[in-house]
């Protein structure tokens, strides 16, 4: 059993996004975070203090732990932003503004 099966989902056609340069499949309607989870990715940010990896925590847009760079725009909440075909998703380092 998996969630798609238990909800008897018939999702639209799988699209492709890239994460840190490698292609990943994504389902239309999923958030960036959901697509990354489905691909087995759980971390896509490193903190600006100690460089620790982070990913989803609250899942509802409150905690800002899942910040990620999408198509060059930093600090997008992966748990809120839907994937679009061809999205270029990158692990966000620090502030996301080209830290030294």
């Amino acid at each position: 059993m998996n969630p798609l099966k238990s909800a008897r989902a018939r999702p639209g056609e799988t699209c492709t996004v890239s994460f840190d340069g490698r292609p990943l499949p994504a389902l239309p309607g999923q958030t960036v975070a959901a697509a990354l989870w489905a691909a087995g990715v759980t971390a896509w940010r490193s903190t600006r203090g100690t460089g620790e990896p982070r990913g989803v925590f609250c899942g509802i847009g409150v905690c800002f732990d899942c910040l990620v760079t999408v198509n060059g725009r930093p600090n997008q909440r992966a748990c809120l932003v839907p994937v679009r075909p061809g999205d270029v998703i990158r692990t966000q380092e620090g502030t996301g503004h080209g830290d030294d």
Partner: protein, 465 residues
């Protein structure tokens, strides 16, 4: 012909929906403003339509109530009585005078970069709540998520965080999360609850009036059994382990005073920990409007009115109590607002059933609060080196130092001296932990911006003459 009065409802969860429907049915033009793409809030969070879920109820509870709300919303929208603004993230409410219109400032779209304003004669705040999580070593590892977060990702995105899950913490949310994850195919290695749910049975008066809740509880118990989930009551997660991501947790038993039982620690391999310690209300918008808070919740009267004229509040924002209570409160708020906006005094007798439900469910919520309190001594168990403020990476030791020798006696001063609570989430995540570590009361923070706002949006606000 005079224009009908206008009510803005902020939040399309159970409270907001009930309020919007009640007001729209009584001649009020309602604008329902919500951050999500579909109505439902957290409790009735829906999968994205593109996922084509034909049986989303497999992941939900009380589906029939949802269908009733959903269909009524569709009818009112079709009739032009409710305008539903989806993907609108409200950052501030403004009232120019006590009798003047309320302006809602929101950001549109998932990237939240475009500013919009909505004006109305009155507003109902149904802003819901968010999860409280208390820190422990390893809680920042990827793979550790909030219990509600795991559920939200499952309901909305039809994904699981991993294969083997431990559900832990305290509170009534843990049961549906554990059964939901198990039903969706996760292996739930353990449900770790720090309280003793049997204590609820000792709260006989509050429980006797809740036959539905008893049945609900029995239902969860049966499902846990069916999925082979072992429940460890009076246990707590002591630490999460892993390099770069979660690999295992250590759990231990608690004695009656909330202390760890020596020798009881055991390690449970898992790739996901779904953890939560209850809920907190979203009160930022109300606080900035000047509404009086009571503790961490918005204070309301019997009609769900705040003490600011023209501002109603309902649901978790006025005190956490679950979806059924939110529906009752939202219904009362919507009827009261409709009557008041038409210039009449409402007759509470007309909503007597909702009033009875509200009384009963609030009693039940109080009983739940007492039973599912975080275990005594949790703060003492957080080592100095553990990060408490996830955004600014402030440790428990730094918080203790600020409160101890630097002379900080309240959340604001601890924040100023440590940066705990100054980051992206503005202290929503670390507030309860910082209060516990500093030994000061948890107070609702002052957050004039309920969410981050681009400076370009602020700069483009209309200038007052």
């Amino acid at each position: 012909m005079t224009e009908p009065p206008r009510l803005t409802v902020v939040g399309a969860g159970p409270a907001g929906l009930a309020g919007a429907l009640a007001a729209a049915a009584r001649g009020v033009r309602v604008t329902l403003v919500d951050a999500a793409e579909q109505a439902g809030g957290q409790f009735y969070r829906q999968p994205a339509p593109a996922l084509g879920a034909r049986r989303p109820q497999a992941l939900h509870h009380q589906w029939r109530t949802w269908e009733r709300l959903r269909d009524a919303l569709a009818r009112h929208r079709a009739a032009g009585r409710i305008t539903h603004l989806t993907d609108h993230h409200v950052w501030c409410l403004e009232r120019e005078s006590d009798a003047g219109p309320v302006t809602v400032h929101a950001l549109r779209g998932p990237a939240q970069e475009v500013g919009v304003t909505v004006r109305a004669d009155a507003v109902l705040l149904a802003t819901g709540g968010y999860e409280r999580v208390l820190p422990f070593p390893g809680w920042t590892l990827p793979g550790v998520v909030t219990a509600g977060g795991a559920q939200a990702m499952l309901k909305g995105g039809l994904v699981l965080p991993g294969r083997t899950v431990v559900v832990a913490g305290t509170g009534p949310l843990l049961l549906p999360v554990a059964t939901g994850l198990a039903a969706a195919g996760a292996r739930v290695a353990a449900l770790v609850e720090s309280a003793d749910p049997a204590a609820l049975l000792r709260r006989a008066p509050a429980l006797a009036a809740q036959p539905g809740k008893l049945a609900e509880g029995a239902g969860y118990a049966a499902r846990l059994l069916r999925h082979g989930v072992r429940t460890l009551a009076r246990h707590t997660v002591v630490a999460a382990h892993g390099t770069g991501r979660l690999e295992a947790v250590t759990v231990a038993a608690l004695d009656r005073d909330g202390r760890l039982r020596p020798g009881s620690a055991r390690r449970i391999p898992c790739d996901t920990l779904a953890v939560g310690h209850g809920m907190l209300p979203h009160t930022d918008l109300a606080e900035t409007l000047g509404c009086t808070l009571s503790g961490t919740a918005v204070r309301v009267d019997a009609e769900q009115r705040t003490d600011v004229p023209g501002v109603w509040a309902a649901g978790e924002a006025t005190g956490v109590g679950g979806a059924a209570l939110a529906l009752a409160e939202g219904h009362i708020a919507g009827r009261s607002a409709a009557a008041r906006l038409h210039g009449t005094t409402p007759d509470p007798g007309r909503w007597a059933a909702a009033d009875r439900a509200r009384t009963r469910l609030r009693e039940f919520a109080t009983a739940l609060d007492d039973v599912y309190a975080p275990p005594a001594g949790w703060a003492d168990r957080v080592p100095d080196g553990t990060v408490v403020c996830r955004c600014e990476e402030v440790t428990a030791g730094q918080v203790r130092d600020a409160a101890g020798t630097l002379g900080a006696g309240d959340l604001r001063t601890v924040k100023l001296l440590t940066r705990a609570g100054m980051g992206w989430c503005q202290g929503r995540m670390c507030g309860p932990a910082v209060a516990g570590l500093a030994g000061c009361p948890l107070t609702a923070g002052r957050r004039p911006f309920a969410r981050p706002v681009p400076l370009g949006v602020l700069a483009a606000l209309p200038e007052k003459e």
